[in-house]
Symmetry: C2
Subunit: 245 residues, 2 copies
């Protein structure tokens, strides 16, 4: 069909038409025809087609990979963000792998505000990764007040993962008063992008969690989830029913 007479922006209408075509004519993983053929089929300019393809990529319907082309994406994977129990990072049943820990005195300004640390104050940083169904879904930097976990944490451990586990173990010994979270759009930092198998700057969902103990913020986790393949789930119930199909 020709789209010249549509009252909405052309690329928007085209997006709807393409979305229907993805449902009915294509299967997951299938490579789309090239842009010239697609533009000709729908009677639109290449620029209009590209805008529509960008929308569908934002919505997780398409994947564009260099050297492969544009393929039909599988449905997004539901990733539980809000645990039913409120626990410290690293508690039993945690979905994250601790990779390394270090001490730093250069904390991002937003994190320093949440942790209420003084400028230049050293904190522990634990790097963690999350994998779901064999795919990397998230990378995290967990900032922990050094004074809260100073006992029993030897940061000069030869094994970086052992140092990370020591920080997490020290957290478990503290009372957790509560936690709160924000979710916002961001772009993948170079280091996270590598872990997530994405290009730096790709859209990500940034979940910032603050953990409060004895009336003050003790740890802040900045977790970066792939926005193309993940759907974050929150709630009282198991995510499966919501994500069936």
């Amino acid at each position: 069909m020709k789209l010249e007479t549509a009252p909405e922006p052309k690329y928007w209408h085209l997006k709807t038409v393409l979305s229907d075509a993805l449902d009915t004519e294509f299967t997951v993983g299938e490579i789309l025809p090239n842009e010239r053929d697609l533009a000709a089929r729908f009677g639109v300019a290449r620029a209009t087609l590209r805008q529509a393809l960008e929308q569908l990529e934002l919505e997780g319907r398409l994947q564009r990979r260099r050297g492969v082309g544009t393929t039909v994406a599988p449905p997004r994977v539901g990733v539980a963000v809000d645990p039913t129990r409120h626990t410290w990072p690293g508690a039993a049943g945690d979905d994250w792998q601790a990779v390394a820990a270090s001490e730093t005195d250069t904390v991002p300004a937003a994190v320093a505000r949440l942790l209420e640390t003084a400028p230049g104050e050293a904190v522990h940083v634990v790097r963690r990764n999350r994998v779901s169904a064999g795919q990397p879904v998230a990378a995290e930097l967990l900032y922990v007040r050094s004074d809260a976990v100073s006992d029993g944490v030897d940061m000069v451990a030869a094994d970086p993962a052992a140092g990370a586990r020591a920080v997490l173990r020290a957290l478990q010994a503290l009372d957790l008063d509560g936690q709160d979270r924000t979710v916002e759009l961001g772009s993948a930092r170079a280091e996270d992008a590598k872990q997530l198998d994405r290009l730096p700057g790709s859209p990500v969902l940034v979940v910032t969690t603050r953990y409060v103990s004895q009336g003050r913020a003790t740890a802040v986790a900045v977790s970066t989830y792939r926005a193309d393949t993940c759907r974050l789930t929150f709630g009282e119930r198991e995510p499966e029913p919501l994500l069936a199909g």
Copy 2:
């Protein structure tokens, strides 16, 4: 400084440098120098500069508006998504304005799956808007099973807002067993974009909430939040402390 020798992608490093400059040299609302001048100042190609500006826009640091240019964005606004009490949409203290209601038999496939409605089954749809600090932050379509609220809902009401309120009132009369949510990246539909004062296709955060009553899904809200200006907040505590500064 010249960026030629940076090990990271040039635009990524440039983004970091620009981000620091935004913190130290610019104020909120200030218009950035034009692309040619910025590219010259940082010794990069225009294409590299544009990539960095796109990242900063994704992160909510910059706003690009036609006819105005690129300005420094105010901090994102925290918008509470997870109410401390679990209540139906439209309960006392709700932040949404009901605009209109109608009955439809064309429900998006994803919503029909959550509501467990049969193909072609009619449901009520309530359109709602959310405004925070005078700015539109979200637009919503709330789908309600017709059989759950049939009593006392007259959909031929002359006043569309009155019809919407009638559906919401009918919900309040039901027991709410629980609710769950997903958050994912999306692109603004034309109708929502208009309410949000954005172009169709702009990145948005899509929050899908399922409300369960008497063991079955009774309502599904698809809420579209501006991704450029909003940070969604979840948690036990009031959002203010997390968002201070």
